[in-house]
Symmetry: C2
């Protein structure tokens, strides 16, 4: 089996070879770039995440307007090939500055980011596979999982109270060993530290993942990998509001914007554990009233194919009805330990 | 010598004892709270950071308006005492929800945050010493430093590519061993990963600290401790713009808002390594023009006592003159390795 590195190099090479072949056959070189316009983003019922449809655009050197775009793409592909071969990575920001030395220039970083996406979508690989990294690290992980980065083995129970940080290069990490039954991802680092402090990792034989709000790509990739490769069920516990719902949903069903790489990022079997509108009622949580923007967002979610399951619809409608939202830390009303001693055990029993 | 924990418990107890003593002597109980109004925040030339002046406010139970504030403060102090005794921590958010069960209520979290600051300033300790933690973790650290959290030894060279994460409980961490000559803190995680990848920790015998923008309190405490306790010089490399300057300056001289705890957070001997206006010129870096808000901010800095040294004034004036700013990642114009192979060695030689 080819490694992801070999696949990346092959795909990058073949992009160039296609162009050379066209030239040697006296054809006008062109590159087929899958369209990522809204009309080509479809929710795939079988895969349970957004994918790209089969519409393509043609970038041709015969079209004056497209010559620069192709030039930029080829330069970038060449740079990525060097990165992958040398086992290096660069941030999108670094790439933008590196391109100052190229014969095709980018006006702004937005322009180079878009060409980066073109490359992702054309090759069907994440830009991380091509050596292009986001600035930010992923989530924090705490619990008995041993991973390997190059020659270094790291146990996420022995990395400190803030856990092991998922790096953008998570694809190259090897899972060596683990002694957990499940994964619980939580939205805030406040809740992460609570769970570490209350020994939730022991009580529930679980990995604890601190998402830090909207999950980074590296975090989504990590959750998918532990689910796929280690067969661990993934539960997500966020604030009980439309934003918390959607942070979970993007982990589960992917985002429309990244339809072309959701096959690497979405974890359709991950489950939203809470905080639900039902939890708000059952546990009589301290709440805030829904703001107009919350109501608007909840109504949008009702129309979103990712929320088509009855349980989601019911919870969204219930939240609209009670007109209230609650944060995951609001369980502390009953004492700091309550969320780990009472809420999680009750919810996990319901779900497993 | 008393541990910080013992000091915290003593101070919390004596707050209550003062009140009880007043009552038993038939006096109206009152608490002296140092004023943190702007007129009481002064730059201390000897300590080289902001401190609070000697103005106090009196919170008296004889004043109807102040009864609730004192009640909240005593409840919070009691909660903190329990936290410290039980070796637990809580986020400010959790504290706010816990207070729902108290007989004195907080209208909003802003209100409970302010009482938390009152407690800090009255006792002269950081709220972290009192068990109250911020939500967010601190910086990432990479390099040959071994620390001890409870019984667990962790080496920051063996915590993964994203390094060891400074947790809000950094005060309880013990420095066990190290094999470095200095500390280089950088503003972005992009630069952090670049330095890890180019083995900067070996080349410069350095710890690498990824600040992630404005340094968290835990990060500032960490930098102060490695400077004080291990005698390591601290260098800060940020973007070459007023915001990068100020991220460095807050590490060096503390912030006005935290004048009451700067003695625990400021590292007056830390040095700003770059990116300076002189660097922009010398290295012919890719730049962006200063925006109006940048110019405004630079002019503010010129009036700030923390920037009174000639080198700072000269660099600020030079930046205003060239009208340009540059990001730290812009060195990639000369290739990804340039910043580590050329820029850092040249700057460190100048400064050491």
């Amino acid at each position: 089996m080819m490694t992801r590195k070999e696949i990346a190099i092959n795909k990058l090479k073949s992009l160039g070879e296609t162009i050379i072949e066209d030239v040697s056959q006296n054809k006008v070189p062109a590159v087929r770039v899958p369209s990522r316009g809204t009309s080509n983003i479809v929710y795939d019922e079988n895969r349970r995440h957004y994918v790209l449809g089969d519409r393509y655009g043609q970038r041709s050197l015969g079209n004056v307007k497209q010559i620069k775009k192709i030039g930029q793409m080829v330069y970038m592909a060449n740079f990525c090939k060097q990165l992958v071969e040398r086992e290096k990575t660069a941030t999108l920001r670094e790439l933008y500055y590196v391109s100052e030395g190229w014969e095709v220039e980018f006006g702004t970083q937005d322009e180079s980011n878009i060409v980066g996406e073109d490359l992702e979508v054309t090759l069907g690989m994440t830009r991380e596979d091509l050596g292009l990294m986001p600035e930010e690290d992923g989530a924090s992980v705490y619990g008995d999982l041993t991973i390997k980065e190059d020659d270094l083995e790291i146990n996420a129970l022995r990395s400190g109270k803030s856990g092991y940080t998922i790096s953008p290069t998570i694809n190259e990490v090897e899972f060596v060993d683990h002694n957990v039954q499940r994964v619980i991802a939580v939205e805030t680092m406040g809740m992460f530290h609570r769970m570490v402090q209350e020994s939730a990792y022991k009580k529930f034989d679980t990995l604890i993942v601190g998402l830090k709000g909207q999950a980074a790509r590296a975090t989504r990739r990590f959750l998918k990998r532990v689910n796929d490769e280690l067969g661990l069920p993934v539960y997500i516990c966020n604030d009980g509001d439309p934003w918390g719902f959607h942070i979970a949903q993007v982990i589960i069903s992917g985002s429309a914007k990244l339809a072309h790489v959701n096959h690497d990022l979405a974890t359709p079997d991950a489950k939203f554990l809470g905080v639900t509108a039902s939890d708000i009622i059952k546990y009589d949580l301290p709440t805030d009233p829904l703001k107009d923007i919350d109501v608007l967002r909840l109504k949008e979610l009702l129309k979103d194919p990712r929320y088509r399951y009855e349980t989601w619809k019911m919870e969204i409608k219930k939240m609209l009805k009670i007109g209230k939202k609650a944060e995951q830390q609001s369980f502390s009303k009953y004492g700091l330990e309550y969320v780990v001693d009472t809420y999680f055990p009750e919810k996990l029993e319901q779900m497993e």
